[in-house]
Amino acid sequence: MSNSSAVSSRTQPPSWPELPLAISSKPVLPAIIALGPAIPAVLNRASQSLQIVNPGPLTNSSGRPQFTKCRSPELETFSCYWTDGVHHGFGSPGAVQLFYIRRNTQEWTQEWKECPDYVSAGENSCYFNASYTSIWVPYCIKLTNNGGTVDQKCFSVEEIVQPDPPTGLNWTLLNTSLTGIHADIQVRWEPPSNADVQKGWIVLEYELQYKEINETQWKMMDPVLSTSVPVYSLRLDKEYEVRVRCRQRNSEKYGEFSEVLYVTLPQMSPVPCEEDFRFPWFLIIIFGMFGLTVIFLFVFSKQQRIKMLLLPPVPVPKIKGIDPDLFKEGKLEEVNTILAIHDNYKPEFYNDDSWVEFIELDIDDPDEKTEGSDTDRLLSHDHQKLLNILGAKDDDSGRTSCYDPDILEADFQASDVGDGTSEVAQPQRLKGEADLLCLDMKNQNNPPGRDAPPAAGEPGVILAEESKARPLPLSETESAPHAAHAPLHSPSPLANIDFYAQVSDITPAGSVVLSPGQRNKAGIPQCDAHPEVASLCQPNFITDSAYFCEADAKKCIPVAPHVEVAARGEPSFNQEDIYITTESLTTTAPRAGTAGPAPGSAMPVPDYTSIHIVQSPQGLVLNATALPRPDKEFLSSCGYVSTDQLNNIMP
């Protein structure tokens, strides 16, 4: 017909019965085998005319009748719908027919059958009742208009299931929140009446949607299999709409929505609570102003206390148990006391830093010298006093130390004992003291106490950590006044010239042997009365040099050092209690001889020298300072250069 030729813009597909017939010729084999490679070719042509089952909305642009959809609501019947094409005046509008064919087991039925019911499903529809419906069976339908096929479709019934909407929606109140603002409800419904769920023929899953009445967006819940779901957290003062739809299990297409259920929750609280979150501007302003006021008050306040409270100062380093103010105020005695109490701190006194700190020029501080030199204290026997005496501000002014070979002798003799027994030490100390005192301008402020010799571990060379620290007076205290005291009362300047003296030796008894300093020059003549020592040592050697070298010391005390060393048990360092030069004795010895005649400047020994090793607490090992030696004359026996000599050397 002209209609069909004009309408059908596509190639006519092969008539359907032909294909199935070809297949049916070999009923045993599956169709796919029977057709073999011919299938793709056939299908390629056929596919163009076939429509996907229930595709998207069709545009009836061509004016032909087209299938809109086929649908089975309960997996027992199905219906197909089509649009009535707009006939552009060609032919009569009627005569649209639907034919179907279905595959039985392995065969297609021979011919197309016409729709059994054009009426029940409405206009332009075809309704297949249960007797005509077979599930899991491929169907093909075609729409003809005046004999010409206008549309075709193939499907299986289980693929086109779209259930009717659920019925009988109702809700019940589950509970309300304590605040009376929210409530939970349970929504129930019935499955569509035509769906045989009871026999398990069809399984449905439901989707509930709800929203507030004045909202536009529906809230969706997850699909459920049961016919009731709880809806949580609905507001009591709002009205809600609820609707449910269902679909076959494991299908994609939902059915239509049910009727909307209106949920009006009872008003529980007479006074509706304003739950709207209003930004608490008022509170923010109040607290902000308060805070700012406080801040400004404190920051700009003159009150130090408040400022301290608000902006505490950075903590200063602190030693446990010691008030840092002590350091500031220079109360070294107290600090030392505290430190001495804690044995832990004792070793600190023997580190190099303290010594280095201790060694400083006292030229600029004549005042301090009047307060008494530490050397006095070092030589005093007063242990307690020694411990307490740290600073120059102490009352033991006027003490001096005596740089006398006697001291060495005394100490060495004391060391011979090996331990500091008072009996042995005392006479020696006495002697030493006498020797010391001969050069000493000891004040009587610190009466020497015949204290017990300190333990070997407490030579008393305790250094304060302050820069002004001076060596504590050793255990060797000032002996009781003797006749030696008489010469003690020498002019104080003598005693006070040297604030800092090097400790040349520390006896095992704990007494310290100071190296002769500048005061030697003044005080030496007095000590010349001690011939026993003087005879042993070269007076020149002693007079000018502030320090002993081990060579010189050996001359003075030929025996003792070795024993002393033996007692120490450290042969590597001879006479470790005295300063030990890095130079060998041999080298120093001849020099000592050559340097002997030089008066006043024979033995240049530096006042300050670096410490090589601290044999805590027994002694120190000093480094031989590397000084320029332009003149051999100025070479000390030990390589030390005194300041005078240094000044001579370097103009």
Binding site: L19, P20, I23, L29, P30, A31, I32, I33, P37, I39, P40, L43, N44, A46, S47, Q48, L50, Q51, I52, L75, E76, R103, T105, Q106, A130, T133, S134, I135, W136, V137, P138, Y139, C140, C154, F155, S156, E158, D196, V197, Q198, K199, G200, W201, V203, D222, L225, R249, N250, S251, E252
Partner: protein
């Protein structure tokens, strides 16, 4: 639901392991009605077996649908394999009820045996499906530079399978909860993984069905031959179009048959256990 916690990868598999072992070994686990140790003639309650079977069949159908959907999306879009109507399934030779009435009129044992027969018929095709899909994925992997779509489709098909395995051998309650968990968790989105999963689940469902039949028929067994599948040659054709078409047909048939079995089992469950009052 707190079942969502089970959706973690470890939970379901562990649970399945425990329950499968309990089912197979007839251990006396409190939550699972099983045989006491050492009992010879103990039987898991039929209702329990049906619950588990229904869960499995439902899961199988879900995976098959997803696999088909993904395959369609990835492979059939351009090729337009809209030939379902022509395509016959190899299980069509087995006379199965085609509507509710027929299904209701068929006796339990017949229907059960039919189910068993259909399941058995799918053993071989599923095996080849997995092989073929795996080969296709490997082939597509090597063609990644060419930007083939197959890899994605295969992956999607595979993922459905994995979700199936976890539903096996569970009690009703647990089965349902597992269902929920499986639905919420990400099912494997890979055609290959889905195919593997379906194959495994199919075997398990088969075992469950045999157990059910043993109980219903009291040991009387009918060894009915499964329907043969002859589509292997098409799956192994060199022509990609032919292969894809064959695969398409196979997956389509799988979806249909899984729906059929699922439906039958649910009908049987409602009939036998709940006396037609689900």
């Amino acid at each position: 639901m707190d079942n969502k916690g089970l959706s973690l990868t470890g939970g379901p598999y562990w649970l399945v392991l425990v329950l499968v072992s309990s089912l197979l070994l007839c251990k006396n686990v409190a939550s699972v009605p099983t045989c006491p140790r050492g009992a010879v003639n103990c039987e898991v309650p039929l209702g329990e077996l049906f619950d588990r079977a229904v869960v499995l069949s439902d899961y199988l159908h879900k995976l098959s649908s997803e696999m088909f959907r993904e395959f369609n999306k990835q492979y059939a879009q351009e090729r337009r394999f809209i030939t379902r109507a022509i395509n016959g399934c190899h299980t069509s030779s087995i006379p199965t009820p085609e509507d509710k009435e027929q299904a209701q009129n068929m006796p339990h044992e017949d229907l059960l045996n039919l189910i068993l027969r259909v399941l058995r018929s799918w053993n071989e095709p599923l095996y080849h499906l997995v092989t073929e899909v795996r080969a296709m994925r490997e082939a597509s992997d090597t063609q990644k530079a060419l930007g083939t779509q197959e890899t994605f489709a295969m992956q999607e098909a595979l993922s459905t399978q994995e979700a199936l395995t976890t539903q096996e051998a569970l009690t009703t309650q647990e089965a349902l909860s597992m269902q929920e968990a499986l639905r919420t968790q990400g099912t494997p989105n890979d055609i290959l993984s889905r195919a593997i999963e379906i194959e495994d689940r199919n075997k398990q469902l088969l075992e469950g069905m045999e157990k059910i039949i043993n109980q219903v028929q009291h040991g009387v067994r009918r060894n009915e031959a499964p329907s043969p599948w002859l589509g292997l040659q098409f799956l192994q054709k060199a022509d990609e179009d032919t292969r894809l078409f064959a695969l398409y047909g196979l997956i389509h048939c799988l979806r249909r048959d899984s729906h059929k079995i699922d439906n039958y089992l649910k009908v049987l469950k409602c009939r036998i256990i709940y006396d037609s009052n689900c």
